[in-house]
Amino acid sequence: MSDSNTAEQSGTNRVKRGLAEMLKGGVIMDVVNAEQAKIAEDAGAVAVMALERVPADIRSQGGVARMSDPDLIDGIMAAVSIPVMAKARIGHFVEAQVLQSLGVDYIDESEVLSPADYVNHIDKWKFNVPFVCGATNLGEALRRVTEGAAMIRSKGEAGTGDVSEATKHIRTIKGEIAALSAKTADELYVAAKELQAPYDLVAEIARTGKLPVVLFTAGGVATPADAALMMQLGADGVFVGSGIFKSGNPVQRAAAIVKATTFFDDADVIAQASRGLGEAMVGINVSDLAAPHRLAERGW
């Protein structure tokens, strides 16, 4: 037996990105307490996201949105056995340190909370816990990967129930990747400059035709058909925030969204899953939101 290299290593890039690989094809649900987390697990969520208030409430109540109370996160971790993610404010590396110390499985450095730093994001390489970050386009995604993000989610517009921004962001990211793949080697230098991302990463994406990390989508998904739309547009999986627990029948809707995400290419299953769900969350059209209230514009 070779004993030269048998040490166990944790917190590596492969281990961090690997967990996201295992969530592919699944639904990650926003929860604010242990009861909701249990409903999500029972409905077939692959992970839950702990936050203080769902985005729809952050919108309607206003005020500063922060990391959840550690007691609530502990309660959620105790209630479920699937991975638990939790949100920290953009740039708030101490909230991230706290979440790592609580033992969460993933941290979302999220624009849904009020940013703590309008210049810098968290240096995610300093952590053993992996991070997921939002992006509206490829350049933003690559800047987050450069800072150490192990998973990307397109941002959409959280708390609206309007899927149009999610559609725009996933199409933009996918489209920009396809455009990079079509470029010749000598065009990639300028492409890197225009994307404001490191050349090596840009060249890697041009070669492989995909991000080096898993790409989920988020922000405005409210129905089974919305979730299937994201999957057909090429997302690896879906985050659902306010869409479940702000709807008339969270238990049934959560299970229906899981079904539609798994069988995203089967209209019969999506149709069946869409029946009798009661009221969807009351939506807000993104076009009715004044620019300062658009969360997707936070982060850069």
Partner: protein, 177 residues
């Protein structure tokens, strides 16, 4: 990975898709979700029958849990497909912070060691007499097992470029075809 090894890989989500394959890989993921969806879409029973009839199946991580006859730390009501006379413990190492990678000596595959990635991984706590342990951690905990046409690993060869476990499995598929 399977395509690179010369196999024709397809996705199996429904009973009719299962009927068309000569071997099945149950990959990593969330075993609780796999259980719910496989029962909901009528895949669980046909898969049990196929395993009884000798279908080669390789489970990695959550897939290993699905192949186990007995599971510790499962959630309420969680079922497995079963087939392997083993007891596994879910999330045996803890949270993601305890996920790790390491080199594993696997006599069946020879040198070099297999670089194994464990992500919120299970371990095999007991094996029946018909089960062979293929690899263990230095503390003795079993992380790779084989029983007839069934193969299971706690770790994820699919996230590295080491094809040896998958080719080992494909030999079983070809031998039983």
């Amino acid at each position: 990975m399977l395509t690179n090894l010369g196999a024709n890989a397809v996705t199996v989500r429904r009973p009719e898709e299962l009927a068309r394959v000569s071997g099945l890989i149950i990959p990593g993921g969330e075993s609780t979700v796999m259980d719910k969806l496989s029962r909901l879409f009528g895949l669980a029973e046909p898969l049990r029958a196929a395993i009884d009839a000798g279908l080669p199946v390789y489970g990695t991580c959550a897939g290993l849990i699905m192949l186990a006859d007995r599971v510790h730390d499962s959630i309420d009501g969680q079922q497995t497909i079963g087939g392997m006379d083993i007891t596994v413990r879910r999330n045996a190492f803890g949270t993601q912070l305890d996920s790790f990678e390491t080199d594993l000596h696997v006599p069946e595959l020879g040198e070099p060691a297999v670089h194994a990635v464990f992500i919120r991984a299970p371990v095999v706590e007991e094996i029946g007499s018909g089960v062979r342990a293929l690899a263990s951690l230095e503390d003795g905990r079993i992380v790779a097992v084989e029983q007839g046409n069934l193969l299971g690993t706690s770790f994820h060869p699919e996230v590295t470029n080491d094809y040896r476990f998958h080719s080992y499995f494909l030999e079983k598929v070809r031998a039983s075809a």
